[in-house]
Assembly symmetry: C2
Homo-oligomer: 549 residues x 2
């Protein structure tokens, strides 16, 4: 089964999107028969990856296609259940890598919701006209304002520990304490209470923001959403940019887009991604970029690259190393980079930059070894060069190829200095030189320069530089060596080394919480034959390894 | 096999401790036949839990018994190998809970080394007169100054990923980037280089602090240690406090010390720890406390409680819940608390307080549900009351027992406000009210008061309060419910909820890095029949699950 991340509101099976002036309504109406795989039914608005792919698409489109929208209400088409969380049958049946990929993607979608709220003036409201359980409540936790119907029945709950022997791993535990500031002993009590908490106590414990009497629920939600929308800095009357369908051709070992090529070598377990620079100069004003629509080069490239990364993540599990290359006119990329920086207050350019930020964080969180190769005719400059900083290693060619054709250059700009915080809150330059202010200052000192390999190496901006004589052999050794290591050990090592320095709620969710969840998912008490995920719904009690680890 | 954490330099099998004025020399000389379990040989200064128990004992004794020591040199009695790291045979044979416990304890020992350096004026030097591999290099990373012999052979290395399919999980990855500020791509290259790095490159990459020519190695180490020792604020001529042997009786379901009792109910999977208050008033000056020696109540209690916790951790794996109780005169505890605060600049009192800090952090990191019970005649006050804040939940009795005997009181002091940072850098009060300045201020407003149950509840300082009518039934339900949950899910949940807010190198090591390592340990590629740990040394290549997770 190949999983496709491309979708469109016209073909959603699980969500209804309606825009009403400044407010968008995104209603969950999961089709029980619409699971991405067979063998389970998506009852009671429970979800699988397919449901979340549509949600992520909606969140993304609202940013670009609806500049006027200042608030988004996530609701449900069911009366007594907002959302029952991740589907247990799906979790029980899924292989470990798929469970992990499912959690990672859903976590990224929830981070995207917070990104919209915090950076793009699109505030999210969760309208719980019924209970929100597990992943359903975790989805609500990603919004800015949780409204719960006050009908003596509707509760919020995290029944994962008590019912399923796993964690609320889509950020639930972290957001309870770090976002909503629920006292840790209350968070403990709540997270072990199968039936959850409702009414005044839910409010007192800060589990929800507002209790709404049933008769006035929809009306109160609408007026609250209007109030929040009124605070937005998004333009009321701008033309949106429609995210037209992505062109993609998949062949046996190639995935081709208009600006991105992916070559796949399954024997060596390597994928090679090449991104291409623009064909012409940038526009002069943000409105002209809007006129380019989804063809605007930085947007088109981001969409294609994101799709390629997601495709490799879930459909090419055995690919261990991704080589990142670029080709194109470095000068034109710099011109685009300058344009983006100069127009960053324009709503559309802001969206493009924030999208690149999310895409780069997806790259950071991709559990494959990333190696950037900087060769002649590359176009790693400015925001495209950020990919070389996201990589685990970067190698640059010294001098020309024997056939000539110029040398490789690399250029960083103010966008690298300002534009793209990682999930640890630092830029990739700051992360690279964490605790080394001298190194950071040297690197920042060459911002704006076209660096050849020796200069980039001297500034600490590439891992190593080699001439043509050594290039192929050395790279082959590095890649072969990497392929010989334990894929698990590499995943865990990279997850640690990529995030030096401070932590944020986001790194805690993707680092600490996710690692614990992955561990739990791997344990017999959760995933074994007699584990809680397998036994759920059978009426037979799960068997637990009683030893505390 | 019962593991005993009590030891003494006279019976060390693996370390030689020598004190020379202001400098102590702690030489690793592992007895290959001295493994704590059978089935493996501790070759080349490789270590198991037994080796680390002795190291932890030495680190602890140097604090109390040698106030004059300002620098500690960790060296090796072998010529070409400082330390080969954790013993692979031991890791391959150990059950998962033992592997995890081994890593946790060794991590705590390394944190204790940094605690001595940062807070107690005892700076550690690693004298690498040969190679330091894996856990051997991680031990060096815990010191303040790493000196490597410059003999063309000696290297530092982290071969875990390349050789063993696991992580350098004793803080190695985190300390590379967050303590030594090694650039992340270099950390990646180093952590996948089986043979490690030596000489000038090790220095340039900040993997070591000093290269020392072989002929002058010992001399240079000694003079560097003298220089560091000269900066200490520890007294040159004070009398040390000898840590006399702990009295402990172990019966079938009771562990008894002089001030601590542990009752064990294996059927219910509960342990009940009771700590006892002092029998008399505190001394007036720190020197009088020194005269009490190891009998000084706060020290004696800490040693007994620490031993009890460690014993439960490794010898009672199936105990899932620990009840924390106290009994004694609350007024006398407050008197001791005031004394400790007033004399905190005295070297011995400083040590006692720092020891309580380490002990409390061990409690935070103990993967069992912790429930504090605050009943009449308890003595939870000041630093002892910190245990109620470390617990996952705390319950307090309202009113008297039917037979009379007074009500329960609880009292917090300035020591709770100032004294005991958790590994996240916050006090337990700040952690409890993370993001809730109003709640913190209310709680701090009652510092110094004797609180009854209603007052403690109103100030948010206990989870709940119940009267005698409900007490037994409600507690039974809470405890039985807990025992029915997946032990793994509880471990993972508690590891997340106990550390809201900011992160430090220490929480990253115990949270993120450890969780990833536990996951890797659980995976077939590491621990399966054909995994790297099992295949190590057989000449047969391990088989890895090629899917990237």
């Amino acid at each position: 089964m190949m999983i496709d991340f491309r979708t469109h509101p016209d073909v959603y099976r699980h969500w209804k999107l309606r825009v009403d002036g400044r407010v968008a309504y995104l209603n969950m109406a999961v089709d029980p028969k619409g699971g991405i795989d067979s063998g389970y039914e998506l009852k009671l608005n429970s979800y699988d990856l397919g449901v979340d792919i549509e949600l992520a698409d909606a969140v993304q489109r609202l940013r670009f296609e609806h500049p006027e929208v200042g608030a988004v209400v996530i609701g449900s088409s069911l009366d007594r259940m907002f959302c029952a969380g991740a589907n247990i049958g799906m979790l029980a049946a899924a292989a470990h890598p798929l469970k992990v990929n499912f959690c990672k993607f859903t976590n990224e979608t929830r981070s995207a919701i917070e990104d919209a709220t915090n950076k793009s003036g699109q505030r999210y409201v969760a309208a719980l006209r019924g209970s929100a359980a597990g992943g359903g409540y975790e989805l609500a936790l990603a919004t800015d304002h949780i409204m719960l119907i006050d009908d003596r029945n509707a509760a919020v709950s995290l029944p994962e520990v008590s019912l399923l022997g796993v964690l609320p791993g889509t950020g639930g535990l972290t957001r309870l304490t770090d976002k909503r500031h629920v006292r840790r002993d209350r968070a403990d009590a709540f997270s072990t209470l199968e039936e959850g908490i409702k009414g005044d106590k839910a409010l007192e414990w800060r589990l929800v923001d507002e209790l709404v009497p049933a008769p006035s629920f929809d009306e109160t939600v609408a007026s609250r959403a209007q109030e929040l929308a009124a605070k937005t800095d998004r333009p009321a009357d701008a033309q949106g940019v429609v995210l037209t369908p992505l062109d993609r051709q998949i062949e046996e070992d190639v995935v081709r887009y208009s600006l991105v090529d992916v070559g796949i070598d399954r024997a060596e377990r390597i994928a090679s991604i090449t991104v291409r620079g623009p064909g012409d100069s940038p526009p002069v004003h943000g409105d002209e970029a809007v006129a380019c629509g989804a063809e605007f080069w930085p947007l088109r490239l981001a969409r294609e690259l994101e799709d390629a990364i997601l495709h490799l993540r879930v459909n090419e599990l055995e690919i261990g190393t991704i080589l990142l290359r670029s080709e194109g006119d470095l000068g034109l990329v710099l011109a685009y980079d300058t344009f983006l920086l100069s127009q960053r207050d324009h709503w559309f350019i802001r969206e493009v930059l924030l999208y690149w930020g999310r895409l780069l964080r997806r790259v950071d969180l991709t559990s494959r070894t990333l190696i950037a190769l900087i060769e002649p005719e590359n176009c790693f400059a400015g925001f495209i060069a950020e990919l070389t900083l996201a990589a685990d290693r970067s190698y640059m060619l010294i001098g020309e190829r024997p056939q000539g054709g110029g040398i490789a250059n690399l250029a960083f700009t103010d966008l690298n200095r300002l534009g793209f915080p990682m999930s640890n809150g630092l830029t990739r330059l700051e992360t690279r030189f964490w605790g080394d202010p001298g190194g950071l200052s040297t690197a920042q000192g060459v911002i704006g320069e076209k660096l050849d390999a020796e200069a980039a190496l001297a500034a600490g901006l590439v891992t190593d530089a080699m001439d043509d004589l050594d290039w192929n052999d050395e790279l082959r050794i590095i890649i072969e060596e990497r392929s010989a290591f334990s894929p698990d050990a590499l995943t865990a090592m990279e997850a640690n080394l990529r995030f030096p320095g401070p932590e944020t709620m986001e790194t805690k969710i993707f680092g600490r919480l996710t690692a614990w969840q992955n561990w739990v998912f791997q344990r017999p008490s959760a995933s074994g034959e007699a584990g809680a995920l397998r036994r759920y719904g059978t009426g037979i009690r799960p068997e637990y390894d009683p030893r505390r680890v």
